[in-house]
C-alpha cells in the first residue's frame, strides 16, 4: 500500500484530519457515575495510540436526570462537574496527535432500560407515547408463602410524549453539552441522532405520531434536529466542527427511516442547518440491534452502499462504520469514493494497531475483527474482545515483556487458546513447541468456521498461524501428545489446551445413525436425507442451517427454550437466525428433550409432556461439549510447571480460551 487516498488529509469544518481512518463513537460502560475511570482512560489511550486520525469518545448522556440514564456505567456530559473527566479523555487522545471528538446524546425511550424499573411513576421521554421500549430486562424478586422466587423478565417499558417546554429544555441540554465538550478541549463533537436517541425518535415516522409542529411530515419531524444544530451553532460559532450521526436506515422497512428518506429528507435539511459532516449508522437499539452492530453473517463493509448513496446528495464529508475490519476494504472504499472517512470500532478492539499496520503496508498482520459481538454483550459493554484478550484489560493484564529466564515450553493443542499461549510465550523469548493431534491448526474454531454462517472465525486461525510461524514456534501437526512424549521432550513447562469433545450424554448415543458435528462438517461423513440435529453447543443452529442448505430435511431439537446466547446476546441476530431456520425449512423443536436415540429415529418429549417419535436416517450431535482432560489427568503430579487453559478446563467460548492463553503466556 502506497500513498493512497485513504492516507490523504481531509477537512471537517475547519479541523484537518491527517488521514481518513478514525475511531467510531462507541459506548463504553467503563465510567463511575458518569465520570471516566482509569480503565476507560487507559482504553482510550490504546485507541489514541492505534494511529487513527481522530478518536470519537462514545455517547455521553446530556440529561442529568433519570430520563438521561441508559447504561449505568456510561459517560455523562450532563453537568459542569463532568468537564474534568472529559478534559482528561481529550488530553489522552490529543497527546497522541489524534483529534479528539466527543459524542453526546439524549437516550429518550432507552432510559427505560434500567431506571424505569424502579421509578414506574417517572416515565422516560419519548417523541410519542406510541412505542414503548422493547428490551428492558428486569428481575422480579418476590416472596410468597415464605419462599423467595426470582425471575428475569423483559416487559416493554412505557414512555410518555414530551411537551413543548420539554422540547426546549432538550435543545438547551444539547447546546450546553456541546459547550462542555468544547471547554473540555475536544476538537469536535458528534451529535448522536441515531440508534438509541430521542432525536431519532422524532425523525422517525415509527416513533413520532405527534400532532404539533414536531410531528407529521418530514418538514416537521426534521424540525427538532435542525433546531438543535441551529442553536448549537449560535453558541459555538462557525469554527467548531459539528458532526451528526444519523441512521441511514433503521431496518424497520416502510415503518421507519429508510435510505431513500435519508437521501431526500434528512441529509439535505441537516446540511442546510449547518452541520460539518454526516456520520452514518443504522438500526434501532431495541428493535434492530443487529443493524447497529452487524454480525458476522453480514458482509464486511456492509454500509458502504449507504455512504456511497449519501455522498451523491451532499457536499459534506461522509463518515461510515460497519464491519470495516480489513485495511484493503477501507483503502478500496475510499479510493472508489464510496465514503470519505472510515470509522472503526470493533476492528480497533480486535487489533488496536490496525491503522498503524495499515500505514506500514502490513494488512496481513492485522488481527481482523470477526464481528462475533462479544464486546457488545449484555454482561456489560466493557469492550472485552473475544480474540484480543488485552482489550479493556489495559490496567490488569501483564504486558508482553521479554522473559527473564527463557525456558523450554510445550503447548498441547492448537486451538485458539493453545495458539495464543504459544504466540505470547514465543514473543517473550521462550523456546516453544506446539503439538496438535489433527493435521491442521484451529481446534474447535475449525468446526465453527465450517458452518458457512460462521466462516469469519477462520480469519482468526489464519492470523494466529501466521504469527506463530513468523515468531518461530515449532509446530508439530498430527502429533497426539502422550505422557511418554512429554518425558521425551522434557519441557520446563507444559500448557494443556486439549479442548473439548462433543458431549455424548444422550441415551442411545452409540446407535449407528449417530454422528457428531465434527464428522459432518469437517470429516465429510456422508449421511442420509432425514436428519435430527440435537443442539446444545454454541453453533448448533448454524450447523442445522448448514445441513439444510445441503438439501437435508432437518429437525432441530434443543432442551432450552431458545438458542444459546452465551454472552453474545445482543447481536446473535435472533430474527435473522429464526428467519433462516424458516427459509431453509428446518423444523425447530425448542424446550424439547431427547428421551432416546433409536435405530430409526429419535424419541422426544416436550416440556408439556407430549411425547413423539421423529424418524431419521442420521442424528447429528451438536450437544454441549465436554472437557478433554485425559492428558491433564495423566500428567498431574508428574510435571512441575503444568498449566491448563481453554475448553479442557471447562467448555466455554473462544474469548475464555484466548484470555487463558494470553494470561498463561505472560505467567511462565
Amino acid at each position: 500500500m502506497g500513498m493512497e487516498k485513504v492516507f490523504t488529509p481531509i477537512d471537517i469544518g475547519g479541523m484537518t484530519l491527517k488521514h481518513r481512518v478514525v475511531m467510531a463513537p462507541t459506548i463504553h460502560e467503563m465510567c463511575y457515575r458518569g465520570h471516566p475511570t482509569e480503565a476507560y482512560l487507559a482504553i482510550t489511550d490504546t485507541y489514541a495510540r492505534s494511529g487513527v486520525s481522530m478518536v470519537c469518545v462514545g455517547g455521553a448522556t446530556i440529561d442529568p436526570g433519570p430520563t438521561g440514564d441508559v447504561f449505568p456505567n456510561a459517560l455523562s456530559i450532563a453537568h459542569d462537574e463532568c468537564i474534568f473527566g472529559l478534559q482528561r479523555l481529550a488530553e489522552v487522545i490529543k497527546a497522541q496527535e489524534a483529534k479528539a471528538c466527543q459524542q453526546l446524546y439524549h437516550p429518550g425511550r432507552a432510559a427505560a432500560r434500567y431506571w424505569a424499573q424502579s421509578n414506574p411513576e417517572m416515565l422516560p421521554w419519548g417523541a410519542s407515547a406510541k412505542i414503548p421500549f422493547m428490551a428492558a430486562p428486569k428481575w422480579e424478586i418476590t416472596k410468597k408463602d415464605g419462599k423467595w422466587n426470582a425471575v428475569n423478565v423483559m416487559p416493554p417499558a412505557p414512555v410518555r410524549e414530551i411537551s413543548a417546554e420539554e422540547i426546549e429544555q432538550l435543545v438547551r441540554m444539547h447546546v450546553l453539552a456541546v459547550l462542555r465538550a468544547k471547554k473540555a478541549g475536544f476538537d469536535a463533537v458528534n451529535i448522536h441522532f441515531a440508534n438509541v436517541t430521542l432525536v431519532m425518535d422524532f425523525i422517525s415516522p415509527y416513533t413520532n405520531v405527534r400532532t404539533d409542529g414536531y410531528g407529521g411530515g418530514w418538514e416537521n419531524r426534521m424540525r427538532l434536529p435542525c433546531e438543535i444544530i441551529q442553536a448549537t451553532r449560535a453558541a459555538v460559532g462557525k469554527e467548531y466542527p459539528l458532526i451528526v450521526r444519523i441512521p441511514a436506515d433503521q431496518g424497520l422497512g416502510e415503518a421507519g427511516i429508510q435510505l431513500q428518506d435519508t437521501l431526500r429528507h434528512v441529509v439535505p435539511r441537516l446540511e442546510e442547518s449547518g452541520v460539518d459532516a454526516i456520520d452514518l449508522s443504522a438500526g434501532v437499539l431495541d428493535h434492530t440491534p443487529n443493524k447497529i452492530i452487524p454480525p458476522m453473517y453480514d458482509a464486511r463493509g456492509c454500509y458502504l452502499a449507504h455512504s456511497e448513496a449519501v455522498k451523491k446528495v451532499t457536499k459534506l464529508p461522509v463518515i461510515v462504520a460497519g464491519r470495516l475490519c480489513d485495511p484493503r476494504m477501507i483503502a478500496k472504499a475510499i479510493e472508489n469514493d464510496r465514503c470519505d472517512v472510515a470509522a472503526l470500532s470493533r476492528p480497533l478492539m480486535a487489533d488496536p494497531l490496525m491503522p498503524k499496520k495499515m500505514i506500514a503496508g502490513k494488512p496481513d498482520d492485522v488481527r481482523m475483527c470477526v464481528a462475533c459481538g462479544y464486546c457488545m454483550t449484555e454482561a456489560g459493554w466493557t469492550k472485552y474482545c473475544a480474540i484480543n484478550a488485552e482489550s479493556a484489560r489495559e490496567t490488569s493484564l501483564p504486558k508482553i515483556e521479554p522473559a527473564r529466564n527463557p525456558r523450554k515450553v510445550l503447548v498441547v493443542g492448537g486451538g485458539p487458546g493453545g495458539m495464543e499461549a504459544a504466540r505470547v510465550l514465543r514473543e517473550r523469548g521462550h523456546d516453544v513447541t506446539l503439538c496438535e493431534k489433527e493435521a491442521q491448526l484451529g481446534g474447535a474454531l475449525r468446526i465453527a468456521a465450517a458452518a458457512p454462517l460462521a466462516r469469519e472465525w477462520r480469519t482468526f486461525t489464519r492470523w494466529h498461524m501466521r504469527q506463530i510461524e513468523m515468531l518461530g514456534v515449532k509446530v508439530r501437526l498430527g502429533t497426539e501428545v502422550t505422557k511418554e512424549l512429554v518425558a521425551e521432550l522434557a519441557p520446563d513447562a507444559v500448557v494443556i489446551a486439549t479442548g473439548s469433545v462433543p458431549g455424548r450424554d444422550v441415551p442411545g448415543a452409540d446407535q449407528p445413525i449417530v454422528v457428531t458435528e465434527e464428522d459432518v462438517l469437517l470429516k465429510g461423513t456422508v449421511i442420509g436425507k432425514r436428519v435430527v440435529v440435537i443442539g446444545g453447543a454454541f453453533w448448533d443452529v448454524e450447523t442445522a442451517i448448514n445441513l439444510a442448505e445441503q438439501g437435508k430435511e432437518v429437525t432441530f431439537v434443543r432442551a432450552a427454550a431458545s438458542v444459546s446466547m452465551n454472552r453474545l446476546g445482543p447481536i446473535r441476530a435472533l430474527p435473522i437466525l429464526f428467519g433462516m431456520l424458516q427459509a431453509k425449512h428446518v423444523k425447530p423443536l425448542f424446550s424439547t428433550t431427547v428421551v432416546a436415540i433409536e435405530k430409526k429415529g429419535v424419541r422426544i418429549v416436550d416440556n408439556a409432556g407430549n411425547a413423539a417419535f421423529v424418524e431419521a436416517d442420521a442424528v447429528v450431535l451438536s450437544t454441549e461439549r465436554v472437557a478433554n482432560r485425559k492428558l491433564l489427568d495423566e500428567l498431574r503430579g508428574g510435571v512441575a510447571d503444568l498449566h491448563e487453559i481453554g475448553d479442557c478446563v471447562k467448555p466455554r467460548c473462544v474469548a475464555d480460551a484466548v484470555y487463558g492463553g494470553r494470561l498463561v503466556g505472560s505467567r511462565i
Partner: protein, 62 residues
C-alpha cells in the same frame, strides 16, 4: 467457500457505468471473462461485498 458467480444470471452489469463486483472487490479477485464476472478462488477472502453490491444477485458463497 469463496464467492462464485452464476453465469446464467450475471449480465456483466450491462447498461451500468461500471461492473460493481469488480469495482468493489478489495482483493482484486474478480475479473471479466467473456463479458461476465469470474472469481479467482485463491484471491477471494469471502468478505461478501460482491454479493452485497451485485445488482442482479448473481453471486453466492460456494
Amino acid at each position: 467457500m469463496p464467492a462464485v458467480v452464476n453465469k446464467d444470471i450475471c449480465n456483466g452489469c450491462a447498461g451500468l457505468e461500471r461492473r460493481e463486483c469488480i469495482y468493489n472487490c478489495p482483493y482484486d479477485a474478480i475479473v471479466p471473462v467473456d463479458g461476465k464476472a469470474v472469481v479467482d478462488k485463491d484471491k477471494c477472502d469471502e468478505c461478501k461485498i460482491c454479493i452485497e453490491v451485485c445488482p442482479v444477485r448473481a453471486i453466492v458463497l460456494e
